[in-house]
């Protein structure tokens, strides 16, 4: 079982989310979206509470969480960096940009830097293919990113 115990306020919040969907098992994906919006990620304890509230097995919740790439069981960095690996960005050099981010931050895709500041992930097409290759940091979208721009982007968030 999980080591860290969730604070009561957080448990209450989760119970409330489940209730807002009438504790319906078929609303699981909507509940998970809401929970991830609230907590940033979906650790094991959160999944256990959701399973209890919706009256489904923890295995079922875990099965759904791990099936969909949008759901994450680890926290993201303070500034989550996503590199678009959609086809349009790929053919305009997205992979080289990704390599450069990995090299400069020294973390693999899906992980967070030791100071918790940056995490790297890939996504598939944000719909700004005209600006390929595209990188997003949080809500901000950077277009036509070259390998040379990577250091500048990171620097913007380093202070």
């Amino acid at each position: 079982m999980a080591k860290i115990k969730l604070a009561k306020s957080k448990v209450d919040k989760l119970v409330e989310i489940c209730k807002s969907f009438d504790n319906e098992g078929s609303e699981l994906i909507n509940v998970l979206h809401k929970a991830q919006q609230t907590f940033g990620y979906l650790p094991a304890e959160v999944q256990e509470i959701i399973a209890r509230e919706l009256n489904v097995s923890v295995a079922h919740v875990y099965g759904v969480v791990t099936f969909y790439s949008f759901f994450s069981m680890v926290p993201k960095g303070e500034f989550p960096i996503s590199i678009c690996m959609g086809t349009a960005c790929y053919v305009r050099g997205g992979e080289k940009v990704l390599e450069e981010f990995k090299r400069q931050l020294n973390v693999p895709v899906g992980e967070t830097t030791d100071d918790g500041k940056f995490s790297i992930s890939c996504l598939r097409c944000v719909g700004a293919c005209g600006l390929a290759p595209v990188v997003t940091v949080g809500e901000r979208v950077y277009g036509r990113v070259s390998v040379g721009d990577v250091a500048d982007i990171i620097k913007e968030y380093q202070q």
Binding site: E24, G25, S26, E27, L28, I29, N30, L32, H33, G63, V64, F67, Y68, S69, F70, F71, M85, G86, T87, A88, C89, Y90, V91, R92, K96, E99, E100, R103, Q104, L123, R124, C125, V126, G127, A128, C129, G130, L131, A132, V134, V141, G143, S146, V147, G148, A151
Partner: protein, 597 residues
């Protein structure tokens, strides 16, 4: 819209918003206020204009002036010059790259000339958050006509006669599908809109939803009327926040106007729409998987039959259509099946929206009549290949499609022709590649995608695609053999024949089509251990030609790992052991001294 003398339309699509179109909108409004013109000129944020390459776009009505690459600081000048003094801001107008002439009206731009906009009819014309603007352009007239003048069967017959085929990839006749769903009796039926748009590099559906959400709602209601459904669900990717928000606004407004809800238009027909969110799984675009995902389960496909028309959402008859398919429906009802049938080719009526991207000058969203050739799309609308490079291939159909070459350029685009040449229409992604793109790497890119997105339910797809990926990887690392090519072919055939759903049945297409069309390139990899396009890192080296290098030090200053050595004004050398092959030096050198060996 009447009360204003002029309108300024600004693109609110995702691409242009990323380039600060919201700030431009604010600045325009501020500038108007400063001149006291805010009651005479209206600033409207619309959906995508399509010409994303030159975004952000600002268009002025009624004179149709089309400004490109507008920056927030240009707002004041547009108001001062154009709106107040009536003089166009020349420096912001589009310049035709061939003729070097300024084109101020989008109608005369090569990019738009060959296009016919049916599904995109309102994108870039109306404020998508204002139902009145939709209604003023014949919006909800088709629904009214169906409810008051047509029986459900008449509507189905009209759609059948139009020849409309599903735009989500399969190309199944829409009218026929509606007829199946209407014939199945049940106490509850559902209409589902598939807005999962999983093809990476495609953004047609998103642009329709962002630019004209009511067209989809109206069509869903029409469909519901034909089959006797009272509930509709839009399944949309959670990655599309703007489209989600605009749909929410649209649903709310439609309810307020009595166009959704109980007893619509007093015709005794009730229908309402809710939304479900995807969570990043490509396979959920497949209709049975999509339905399972709507039920809160893992999005795994199941065997058809039963088709959703018999047993779909919650085990009830369900009709699933794609966003673009729906967007065509109101126009067909308004203008008639015969009108629609005249556009396009015999077996593929109407138009198709494509997201044109890759190594092409005019990246953007286009809608062309079926039967337009790839050459027209790439060279006339797309403006040819970027940076004067040579065309190599065009990929259609996303991870399920194939790479087509020079010899296919004159193929008229329609469902059947594309399949005949080894690709497919897919949902409308069209990626152009030039001489620098390695086709083995391209196949590997798609397989990497498929491996990640396979749901794992059946073995040929789960394991087979992984093996395909490994073989391709081996080849790009220069360790492949000629036997591997046969292995790739055989394995591909087995995966296609034995997979359960459309994902596995089509995933080997990128491999098969590249082997077929670029066999020499595979041979170069396995026999000469060379990558002719110079993309496979293991098979290349960056070298500086001492004859051409003038010792400007630019490359050395830009190399991210400091592996270029040399004194000022002397030839530089790359330390191959330290080089990470990022290509920065080659991009930077102004003397073409760096090449790939």
């Amino acid at each position: 819209m009447e009360k204003y003398k002029m309108h300024i339309l600004i693109c609110g699509g995702t691409g242009c918003r990323a380039s600060a179109s919201e700030t431009i909108q604010n600045n325009l409004q501020e500038a108007l206020k400063a001149k006291g013109l805010e009651d005479e000129v209206q600033v409207v944020m619309t959906g995508c204009f399509g010409f994303c390459e030159k975004g952000p776009i600002v268009k002025i009505l009624p004179d149709n002036t089309f400004y490109v690459e507008v920056k927030p600081e240009d707002a004041e000048e547009i108001i001062d010059e154009h709106i107040v003094k009536g003089r166009k801001v020349m420096r912001l107008l589009y310049v035709d790259p061939e003729k070097k002439e300024v084109v101020s009206d989008s109608k005369h731009m090569e990019f738009y000339k060959k296009q016919i906009r049916i599904a995109l009819r309102n994108c870039g014309f109306i404020n998508p958050e204002n139902i009145d603007e939709y209604i003023s352009r014949d919006g909800y007239a088709a629904l009214g006509k169906c409810l008051t003048d047509m029986t459900p069967q008449l509507v189905i017959d009209e759609i059948k006669a139009s020849g409309l085929r599903g735009r989500g990839g399969g190309g199944f006749p829409t009218g026929l599908k509606w007829e199946f769903a209407s014939k199945n009796k049940a106490d509850q039926k559902y209409v589902v809109c598939n807005a999962d748009e999983g093809d990476p590099g495609a953004f047609m559906d998103r642009s329709i939803l962002e630019g004209d959400p009511h067209s989809v709602l109206e069509a869903m209601a029409i469909c519901a009327y034909t089959m006797g459904a009272t509930k509709g669900v839009i399944y949309i990717r959670a990655e599309y926040p703007l489209a989600i928000q605009r749909l929410k606004v649209a649903i709310k407004q439609a309810r307020e106007y009595g166009l959704l809800g109980n007893d619509i238009l007093g015709a005794g027909f009730s229908f309402d729409v809710e939304m479900r969110y995807g969570a990043g799984a490509f396979v959920c675009g497949e209709e049975t998987a999509l339905i399972h995902s709507m039920e809160g389960l893992r999005g795994e496909p199941t065997v058809k039959p039963p088709f959703p028309a018999e047993s779909g959402y919650n085990g009830k008859p369900t009709n699933v259509n794609n966003v673009e398919t729906f967007a065509n429906v109101p126009v067909i009802i308004n203008k008639g099946a015969a009108w629609f049938k005249k556009i396009g080719t015999e077996k593929s009526a109407g138009t198709k929206v494509f997201a044109l991207a890759g190594k092409i000058n005019n990246v953007g969203l286009i809608e062309v009549p079926m039967g337009t050739t790839l050459r027209e799309v790439i060279y006339e609308i797309g403006g040819g290949i970027k940076d004067g490079k040579k065309f190599k291939a065009v990929q259609t159909g996303g991870p399920s499609g194939g790479c087509l070459t020079e010899k296919h350029l004159d193929t008229p685009i329609d469902f059947d022709n594309l399949i005949a040449v080894g690709s497919m229409m897919g949902s409308g992604g069209m990626i152009v590649m030039d001489e620098d793109d390695c086709m083995v790497s391209m196949a590997k890119f798609y397989l990497d995608f498929t491996v990640e997105e396979s749901c794992g339910k059946c073995t040929p797809c789960r394991v087979g695609n992984k093996r395909l990926y490994e073989l391709l990887n081996k080849i790009t690392e220069g360790k492949g053999t000629k036997e591997d090519l046969d292995l790739l072919r055989n394995l591909s055939t087995v995966i296609k024949d034995t997979s359960l759903c459309g994902l596995g049945q089509t995933s080997p297409n990128p491999v098969l089509s590249t082997i077929e069309n670029f066999y020499d390139e595979y041979i170069a990899h396995v026999e000469d251990h060379k990558c002719p396009a110079g993309q496979c890192k293991a098979l290349m080296q960056y070298v500086i030609d001492p004859e051409l290098c003038v010792g400007c030090t630019l490359c050395a200053r830009n190399c991210p790992v400091d592996c270029i050595i040399g004194e000022r004004k002397e030839a530089h050398v790359i330390d191959a052991a330290k080089c990470i092959k990022c290509g920065t030096c080659m991009d930077k050198c102004k003397f073409n001294a760096i090449s790939i060996k």
